[in-house]
Amino acid sequence: MKNEIRLEMDALPENEGLARVAVAAFITPPNPTVEEICDVKTAVSEAVTNAVIHAYEGKGGRIVVRCSLEEGLLHMEIEDFGRGIADIPKAMEPLFTTRPELERSGMGFAFMEAFMDSLEVESEPGKGTRVIMEKKLGAASREDGEE
């Protein structure tokens, strides 16, 4: 059976940890490995942090995290309504950052890509950004012979 959650929150640093914990709790039913839980938590953290820092430039706004689980497949969308990304391929390049003064490593999208099975980014400048990620968890990932 399909299960869905929607978490809407202010784009504040203190909510980054909340988003990680909420998603980690949501994905427990398919019995994921510790590694898989860590992977998902990292991906959530990267996407939500991007929204806080880049989409709203630390000035706040709203972030919506949607997750669904069906037969061990996690589908996750993290959406903001901030400044958007003009050049998505450039933004996704490892080590590229628009905020070097904040010591951002430029590895956010690279980590999302590495830790999830798929990553898609939709964005419109001035309107916002939606990051869509999927990952098979627990038995569903092992059936694929991935691990």
């Binding site: 510790v34 010591e103 590895m107 590495a114």
Partner: protein, 113 residues
């Protein structure tokens, strides 16, 4: 929590928090840099023994401190890093700039937890 940042011999030892993310990393960088400025020390040891989570924000902290100390011949050491933390550092391409203080037995226990 002053004891989390200590000077021992010629090393600045930093005991990192449980979660290293955007929120906690600003404080880590700020306090590390303040101690590096006010002391004669040029080597930094990041102790991950308590750390269970780190995202790319932590990579920024380590890379930033490396940039700061390496121009004076300083080094950045990583101690007690779990398999997960090492995976993150490996992916970030930082490995070749860091010195590792291994403690495998402890790691295995924590990784299984």
């Amino acid at each position: 929590m002053e004891e989390e940042y200590r000077i021992i011999d010629r090393y600045l030892m930093i005991r990192l928090p449980e979660e290293i993310d955007h929120r906690s990393c600003q404080e880590i960088s700020r306090r590390a840099d303040r101690m590096l400025l006010s002391s004669e020390v040029k080597d930094v040891v990041f102790d991950f023994s308590r750390t269970v989570f780190m995202d790319s924000s932590g990579v920024g902290v380590l890379a930033g401190r490396y940039r700061r100390v390496s121009c004076f011949g300083g080094r950045v050491y990583v101690a007690n890093a779990s398999r997960r933390i090492r995976k993150i550092l490996k992916l970030s391409g930082l490995m070749k700039y860091l010195e590792f203080m291994e403690r495998e037995e402890n790691d295995e226990k924590r990784d299984q937890a």
